[in-house]
């Protein structure tokens, strides 16, 4: 009994000691990393993903006590549910990809965007950007909330050079010429235009551009902010151009069922002569479009009040989460993204970086360089409805566009959109 009494406290202490030791060893981090930086983005192609892995390795080599987690989501998921879910999660990203303009400002209003202007004016980013690169990355003229990454032309007509050459077709400069080209391609048995409008933004973006060209940029902006009627005669005229494409059968029948990436594949396989989508097609082409001879032209001139040389585009960048506990460390990673070496990686991957020297020392594809020039020299840059303006108005507009490109009546479609927007107002 005496022995038991003596042993009992000793055994208890030993048990507690063993338990604590196991708990401590179990709780200890697997690696020596003290700081974890999470970077979230939508998928931009294998080449881009691979480049982020390269930068992650460089960063972790430079800062051995830090780890970078790259969170890549399917693009549509990221834009809709993905990013908002990530931001409200316990392990929210420290930095995340976003488009400049209203989406960025919404994050700032929600407390998810940090003002990083002090960092950007420091030595690390000194001379990496022209002032113009920060357009749309402030809030009411104050602060900077993004590290600029790429300038995306969001809507251009990519065409298969072999098909054009075989049919003796020239690049069209007016809408009438464009329709003639489509007619010739259709007569040859090839689908003139393929679009994957399942998620509505592909044709929606093109419709945004057409609308801005026809009604004028100011009226377009008012319309997409819900301040001017969606079903005005001018808007009906503008959407008449898309209706013509649907009526003449110049677009794939599956337009509203096909995802955008499958439409890209159809274009790369030569099943259609043209596709209207953004400059990021170049990144996809590196892996999927090998051997295809293709080039691009801007949407041909229309009859309208807008600038017929305008470009539909938007800048992108990385926002830093205001709630992050590691803002300085995150900026160290973004410094690599914007560095000369990082810029080279993006340019080689087919993107158009917004740094001051996007193609220095890079054997970049001439189309990528040309697209960057198109964006930087455009007399007017128009933002797409869904990333530049009120998202609910854009959704109503894109619904109408999907209906029209599916063969619906223009006036009815825009009346329905206007009814929805009136509710939002």
């Amino acid at each position: 009994m005496a022995i038991r009494n003596v042993l009992k406290p000793g055994m208890t202490a030993a048990a507690i000691g063993v338990t604590l030791a196991l708990a401590v060893s179990g709780c200890a981090p697997a690696s020596s990393s003290d700081v974890v930086i999470r970077i979230a983005m939508g998928a931009s192609g294998d080449a881009v993903d691979s480049n982020f892995d390269t930068l992650k390795t460089q960063y972790e080599t430079k800062y051995p006590d830090r780890t970078v987690e790259i969170i890549v989501q399917e693009d549509d998921v990221y834009q809709t549910t993905g990013l908002s879910t990530l931001l409200s999660s316990r392990e929210a990203p420290d930095a995340y990809f976003e488009w400049s303009g209203p989406r960025m400002r919404n994050h700032v209003a929600d407390g998810d965007g940090a003002d990083i202007s002090e960092y950007l004016s420091g030595d690390a980013f000194d001379g990496r950007f022209d002032d113009g690169a920060f357009t749309g990355m402030d809030v009411d003229g104050s602060g900077i909330y993004m590290v600029p990454w790429t300038g995306d032309v969001t809507d251009i007509v990519w065409y298969n050079k072999t098909i054009f050459s075989d049919l003796g077709l020239d690049v069209p400069t007016t809408w009438d010429e464009f329709m003639d080209v489509c007619a010739a391609i259709k007569a040859s048995g090839v689908t003139p235009i393929v679009e994957g409008n399942k998620d509505q933004w592909t044709v929606g973006n093109w419709a945004s551009h057409i609308a801005s060209r026809v009604v004028g940029e100011d009226v377009y902006a008012e319309t997409m902010n819900g301040e001017a009627p969606m079903n005005s005669p001018e808007m009906v005229d503008a959407m008449g151009y898309l209706a013509e494409i649907a009526r003449e059968g110049y677009i794939n029948d599956s337009v509203n069922a096909l995802p955008d990436d499958e439409a890209n594949t159809q274009f790369f396989l030569g099943r259609a002569a043209m596709i209207v989508i953004g400059s990021w097609l170049m990144a996809d082409a590196q892996t999927d479009g090998e051997g295809l001879e293709f080039d691009y032209f801007n949407t041909p001139a229309l009859d309208g009040a807008g600038d017929q040389e305008s470009v539909l585009g938007i800048s992108t960048g990385f926002m830093v989460n205001a709630k992050s506990a590691h803002i300085a460390e995150t900026m160290d990673f973004l410094e690599l993204v914007a560095s000369a070496e990082g810029t080279k990686l993006w340019a080689q991957a087919g993107l158009a970086p917004m740094t001051i020297d996007p193609f220095d020392g890079v054997d970049a594809d001439e189309r990528t360089v040309s697209l960057a020039t198109l964006m930087s020299t455009a007399p007017t840059v128009v933002a797409p409805s869904d990333s530049g303006y009120d998202i609910e108005v854009a959704a109503a507009f894109y619904d109408a566009v999907a209906n029209i490109i599916g063969g619906g009546n223009v006036q009815d479609a825009l009346d329905t959109a206007e009814k929805r927007i009136a509710e939002i107002r």
């Binding site: 549910t81 879910t85 399942k198 599956s254 069922a257 619906g408």
Partner: protein, 294 residues
């Protein structure tokens, strides 16, 4: 002693009540509370009274989502419950060697829904899809449609996939119920000269009626929980032809960041589902939902 036992029943049910309260009641109450505010999820909440509810009843897409959901219910009652019942009947008529068919019919239930949705998207594909390729290769080009891109066919196409998945599930339920029917009843009907189909519809089906009623209730309430098939295959399109309440909820909450309005839509849906359950129970009690004893 007696006073101690007064608490015993309460203590026994307490865990279940607590779990139900935290998992169902509390979230439902919080959601109802959110229905009365304008809130993006992170900004300042603004009380808006019943504005979100009045907006819902003027929202054409939301009302369309209900029409589509009820259309989906009607189609799945046939493609899931009725087909499952017939399959169970066929399987039971085959005698002993039924294991293969039962497993084969049940396999789709075990596959991840997203995988099924992606697979069937290819089956329905306009140019490389199994259906259109078969139609074109047999000379029926005119019947080759853009199944998921045509507002007239998209909902039916998704319902067929739903039927392909769940008919096997209902078959398993009905098969188990049919196995419980005493053999002497079936033998008596056989001796009276009834055919297998007559026995099935006039003897077996009435005897498993309670199970069929449960299946119908599951099918109806399950339709309001559907999401993944619709989200992956059509994302509510084309032109909202396959928009159901859950896909629209996701759009309102995650795309438009309108949590207050989304909460109101969810509250209304909860009331609709509860009302349907109550109506179903009422009908069942009125028409005599007494279990057949055998």
């Amino acid at each position: 002693m007696k006073s101690d036992r007064v608490w015993t029943p309460y203590l026994l049910v307490a865990p279940a009540v607590l779990v139900f309260a935290f998992v169902v009641l509390l979230p439902a109450l919080l959601n109802t509370g959110l229905s009365f505010v304008d809130w993006s999820g992170t900004n300042q909440m603004v009380f808006v009274g019943i504005d979100n509810f009045t907006r819902a009843f003027r929202d054409d897409i939301y009302l369309t989502a209900y029409r589509n959901t009820f259309g989906y219910i009607a189609l799945t009652l046939i493609l899931e419950v009725a087909v499952g019942l017939v399959m169970a009947g066929v399987v039971t008529m085959q005698g002993r060697r039924t294991a293969f068919y039962r497993i084969a019919f049940f396999v789709p239930v075990m596959l991840p829904m997203v995988v099924i949705a992606v697979l069937w998207s290819f089956v329905y594909s306009d140019d490389i899809g199994l259906i259109n390729t078969a139609l074109r290769s047999t000379g029926f080009d005119a019947l080759a449609l853009v199944w998921l891109g045509n507002p007239a066919t998209a909902l039916i196409a998704i319902s067929v996939v739903s039927g392909w998945i769940y008919a096997g599930f209902y078959m398993a339920i009905f098969f188990a119920a049919l196995q419980r029917i005493p053999t002497h009843i079936v033998e008596a009907a056989t001796l009276d000269g009834a055919s297998q189909w007559r026995i099935f519809f006039s003897v077996k089906v009435p005897m498993i009626r309670p199970m069929i009623e449960i299946a119908v209730l599951l099918c109806v309430t399950g339709a309001f929980q559907s999401f993944d098939l619709f989200y992956v295959m059509t994302n509510g399109g084309p032109d909202h032809a396959t928009e159901i309440v859950t896909t629209y909820l996701v759009e309102v909450v995650f795309r438009f960041n309108n949590l207050g309005y989304g909460a109101a839509l969810a509250t209304i849906m909860t009331i609709v589902v509860l009302a349907l359950g109550l109506i179903f129970a009422r009908i069942r009690s009125k028409v005599g939902g007494v279990d057949v004893e055998y």
